[in-house]
Amino acid sequence: MTEVATLTPEPVRAPSLPAKLRDAETLSEHIVEVISDSGEGAQRCGQSLGAIAARTGNGIWTTEIIPAEIQPPARSVAGASGIRIRIGTKKVTNGGDETDLVVAFNEQVLIGRVRAGELKPGAQILLESMWREHRDPKIVASYAETVDSLKKAGFRVYEVPLERECHKLVADPRKGKNMFVLGMLCNLYSLDPKLGHEQVALTFGKKDPKVIKVNQGLLEAGYAWAEQNLDFKYRIPAVRSTEPQIVVNGNTALALGVLASGMDICAMYPITPATSVSHYLSDVFERVGGIVHQAEDEIAACAFAIGASYAGKCAVTVTSGPGYSLKQEGIGLAVMAEIPLVVVNVQRGGPSTGQPTKVEQGDLLTAIYGSHGDAPKVVLAVSGIEDCFYSMITARKIAETFNTVVVVLSDASLSTAQQPFPRPAFDADWLAPPLDQTPVPDGAKPYDWDPVTGMTHRFVPGQPHGMHTLTGLAHDRGSKVAYDPEINEEGLRNRSLKIAALQKTLKTPPVFGDPEGDLLIVGWGSTKGAIEEAVEKMRDEGLKVSSLHLTFIQPMPSGIREILKRFRQVITIEANWADNLEDELIDQDNRRYAALAMMLRSRFLVDIDCWTQTRGQPIKPSEIVRFARAKLATPTA
């Protein structure tokens, strides 16, 4: 990686017609990827590009491509680390289909993306050319062979001497070429280089001003190089929002939501892809007050949050699949003892260690039916970045109003995806009321279950006359351990009724598209943007397709039964496993359905089909369109 100094000057291999002589081609959207070895800064480059485009007024969605290891082998197919940025004129709600243009720091990481089918046919590839002169003949051969085969496959390959150009400005070009690439991309997408400068200043804001200067120099060099040497240029018209927008990823939005909700204790244990919520929150809490408690394990994190909630305001614990499994006993305790608790599960591929950095929606049924015995809790799923923010405020409120556990499901794709949304305007109503320390009235019981709603107050330590021992054992209204059969059922009934009481307050989710038609696609979580984009496309083609996206899954709002009835066919689209009827052993009787499909089938007795994808990649709108068209073409039974 350090042989750059030995490189002999080489004519630039890019076509000679300078871009400045060509008009920028106007596009409504484009998908660009930057792919590198881990640690080469592709993600920082892409995030900056996304931010610049967002500030220009473009719709953006960024999707990170993350290897599971910190330092996977260099130049390896599996080690590809990078980012995809979808830039559009209109609001962008998902990562979109295949990539139009990719910048790759070596040919190996690119191969992985090509094999995965992530590049559009004929996509433009800007490839670091230093490998052509590498001293290892095997690398030279691999590079040359890959370039040839990519060209043969119809890709338009531009070889770019990234490190050689950067070496003119910095001693270690490997560290700086991401900003050079950012400059190139600013030029290619006709973005204001001044915004680029500002973005670099923001990105490196905490560092030495010299560092900012150097990186701005690299940005300029990249911009100039593209201007001089590339024969194409794009412009994606932007509509500047009239409202302030914020650009953050899903995990940062969750953390900001925790802050905005007034929760001040977050207990966690490091786990991918949830941890960055706590990173951000740790930093913010240092300034605003509150703590992120890194517990000794997931179980302790849950127990700590329960203890904090019991004695004070509602606390939150943030985790992912394996950690969520470990918290189950604690969640059961919180349900049984009626302690408010918010649990965030940023889902990843499972079971077991599975695919820690990849997206999957595999934990829905675990979230709803987890723990043991009958442990009713609230489960809601976020479907976008803005949702991540507001979900924390909603979850905190529900947890404290109903004294129950609220599970918020996000996933690996939302965790690192960025999308602008209107800057939230703080409202003091988002916060919990101050802790009640007033004396408990005579005769009041810690579990004064309302006969209709099952709801109860809770006595917080410090309240005179409220002393009782809270227990995970079956208990009566006085929180006394009770083995009486009636009392056990009374508790079960009331804890279940609370879920119904919440359900009565929920609004029927809106149907996207016409309220009736041939096909209804039902989804939940991060697939919302892709599903609605696919539906829009099919409706433009005249197909009678609509979609319905669920935020509350336990309890499920009223009115869904009626919606389902108005469509000839209903399918769910989910990123979790479902058996395929094409498999020899699989039939209607033994097929394991996708999670939401199973829920809907059992609740509404409707023959709902499902289509799922568990490749660890966000579901693409084009895949949904393909499946839905095929579904519409098959006659229904």
């Binding site: 929002s241 009239t242 994190a301 127990a303 019991y310 021992t469």
Partner: protein
């Protein structure tokens, strides 16, 4: 501030507590169970220290020992097996104004909750902890516990348990940040009280192992010690326990031990026979996690708003050119 005399009297009456103010339900422990001695000592401590019942919380896990909170007339949290420590840490972190105690057993603490125990010692949260160590699982009907002596015949070790017992004292004394480690036995109530009182007054994670009898499953276990006071070693020191002359007549086996001496504490702790009773280690200088990481109790809506706005400023795209973000550049 002046106060009418009647109000003063009411205040005085309210502020003064009797033993009954801490006595919850009638304990359901077996007759002769050592848990009863611990309960009596703790209720006495609460009365002597005049703890406000509404500001006192007993947290426990699962097992015979962990029924403890039900028999107190304070707030109580009877949690889940092995997790009393993190629950109690959460309580204390959210509410530093509360007095928080933990009752745990040898299965709860030394088996299923071991990870939490080790880390609780290291966090050094300001909690008073009593390990009710009867060397056997009681509530699940006689299985060997980590502190069961080798050879113990139980329902899961019918030919006798095969491993040496774990020593909770030496384990605790091996953990970084351990700040108060003591031992008592249920059959010397006077010292049991004294040790728990010392533990209560230590600011930090005060760990008291109480060796206690289980009359149901190990009725004869501690008889040799009961019959021979010489097999109990009392640790005395001006910074530890001082033994009354009455007690000294029976328990003559005493040594002076300075609780600040960690190496000596580890040596003494290694002895299973005689059983050491007293303060093994005390270091008031270890910082408490709840002090180091205290949540600001004054976090107002305005502070939260200001904090949020300043975070949002960093990531905002403003519609006009005169934005804070632009000014940064």
């Amino acid at each position: 501030m002046t106060m009418p005399v009647t109000q003063c009297l009411i205040k005085l009456h309210e502020a003064h507590h009797n033993l009954e103010d801490y006595q919850g339900g009638v304990p359901r422990w077996c007759t002769g169970c050592g848990d009863n001695s611990i309960l009596a000592a703790v209720q006495r401590l609460c009365r002597d220290e005049n703890l406000a019942p509404e500001r006192t919380v007993f947290v426990s896990g699962i097992g015979c020992s962990s029924r403890f909170p039900h028999y107190m007339k304070t707030y109580g949290f009877h949690g889940i097996h092995g997790r009393a420590f993190p629950i109690a840490q959460g309580v204390k972190m959210a509410r530093p104004d509360l007095e928080v105690f933990v009752n745990t057993g040898d299965g709860d603490c030394c088996s299923i909750g071991t990870a939490h125990w080790i880390h609780a010692l290291r966090y050094n949260t300001n909690l008073t902890v009593i390990l009710h160590d009867n060397h056997v699982y009681g509530l699940t009907k006689k299985q060997a516990s980590p502190t069961s002596p080798r050879g113990l015949k139980s329902n899961t070790t019918p030919r006798g348990s095969t491993m040496e017992a774990m020593n909770p004292l030496t384990v605790s004394l091996g953990v970084t940040n351990a700040s108060f480690i003591a031992q008592a036995v249920d059959w010397i109530p006077e010292l049991l009280f004294d040790v728990i009182k010392k533990a209560y007054h230590h600011r930090g994670f005060s760990f008291v192992r109480v060796i206690q009898r289980c009359p149901e499953f190990l009725p004869k276990m501690f008889e040799p010690w009961l019959h021979d006071p010489g097999r109990t070693l009392l640790l005395t020191h001006p910074n530890g326990l001082t033994i009354s002359p009455e007690l000294s007549r029976t328990y003559t086996n005493q040594i002076a031990h300075d609780p600040s001496n960690l190496d000596r504490a580890r040596e003494i702790a290694s002895s299973e026979d005689p059983i050491p009773v007293g303060i093994l280690y005390h270091n008031p200088a270890v910082p408490c996690y709840d002090d180091l990481r205290a949540v600001s109790p004054m976090r107002t809506a305005e502070q939260i708003r200001a904090g949020l706005e300043s975070e949002l400023d960093k990531v905002t795209v403003w519609p006009d050119d005169d934005s804070p973000v632009r000014r940064v550049a």
